[in-house]
Amino acid sequence: MASLPIAQLCIAAVIGAASGAIGSFILLRKMALVGDAVSHVALPGIAVALAYRVDPFWGVITVLLAAAAIIWWLEARSRLPVDALVGLLFTASLAIGILTIPDTEILESLFGAFPALSPLAFGATVGAASLSLLLTFWLARPFLFAIVSEDLARIGKVGRGYELLLLVIFSVVVALGIKLVGTLLMGALTIIPAAIARNLSAGMRQYMITAAVLGATISIAGVAAASIWSIRPGPVVILLGVGVFALSLPAVGLKRPAG
């Protein structure tokens, strides 16, 4: 049995926790599918970055931030069917990505793989993920307020700027997480911990903390298992999460008193 890769486990822990935390809001905003589509936008970004020989992260973060701005802009015009539009726009970018990324890189981009990181890149990744995690918890009140009621939030001096901020944090976390689980599965990593936590929680604070802890736990376990059996970490992380979700289902009936 090979010794466990400590650096990779650290990255898995913070990215998993950050995904769980921001994912808890994405789920409540009923943007689960939008979030999934957003992670697909990353592919053309990876293609461009590879073509210009820069770290794919920069290509990914650029296109993701643009995607966040587009969604934010579309959401304000509520007459448009946002999910359908976003789904079309962003699956198109998945198709473009598959055509433009060199075949040798495509599997890695889709399903994730840990590149050897320089100490600087390692520090930057862990730092960015930790910062996203902290910001999500710090801004939980305005994020939540806008989800509960947009009108009451506006009267309570919570403006639409927070919604953009939420999408920006989400974009950063997705860009970081793509290294861990790849573009196809990153949407799932943000949604699964939140979906499990919602089955187990009555209150918001419990829900967010549970989602963050589960995100970290599932990611660590997945990366460890992948390292032991020499398989890709992405699918292992996601399958583990889906397994835990199935286990959490019986709790739903017990938690919620009928209306």
Partner: protein, 271 residues
Amino acid sequence: MAAQEVFASQLDRDFLPGERSAMPSKVLEVENLGVILEGEQVLSDISFSIEAASITAIVGPNGSGKTTLLRALLGLLPCQGRISWTPGISMGYVPQRFAVPPSLPLTVTEFFLLKSGRLWRPDLAFIKHLPHELELMGLPLSVLDRPLGSLSSGQLQRLMVSWAMVTHPAVLIFDEPTAAVDVGFSDTIYQIMHRLIHERGTTILLVSHDLNVVWTHASQVLCINRSLVCQGPPQEVLTPEALRQLFGEVGWYHHPHGHHHLGEGSPGEER
């Protein structure tokens, strides 16, 4: 109970805020307000003002733009004309319909914490204050730990009133505060409104379909049907002719002495 005393003083409709300041001060002035929603002129040419420590009731048929007017006053809609509140004034709002999905993981306490500004390290004084607010609205303390989505519609409406009042705003805006609650609570709400006016000088603006309530409690009535049809004290404004003009031939009838009304339609949906 103090609320009962206030109820007894409800006839004291001529109460003026002059006890606090020499001149009744204007809290809100509206000039030529107009609202266009999706290309349709929903409201036009509305001008009125509201004095501090008063109850203003907005009446009008379904679809006449009452809710739209409230939302415009709250700054939630783009509009034409001028709306000027006293600068920096605090407002509480009870929307007509407020629904949360049953699966929303948010307890009633946390719902209040959204207002307090601190979610993770709650202000203890604020938390201690909550049981009192619930009691005032006739809600059991056990709701504090329950998910917001698990409350009944009547409980949720009481809670929304409590939520709007918890930070003691200077202006309270109610859109049909008693649509989903029983008669007893309806009385409670109006007792509390009068108490707020007397004790805190709160200014109240409400939409109501219950003309008895308007007649009994309001110091000013605004009749809305896409524009301002009439305004003034209820005794002067709510004449049978005016009501017929506002609501049509069938519908509302008010008997000032017997305090009952006939032909009441269901409140129905508002836009």
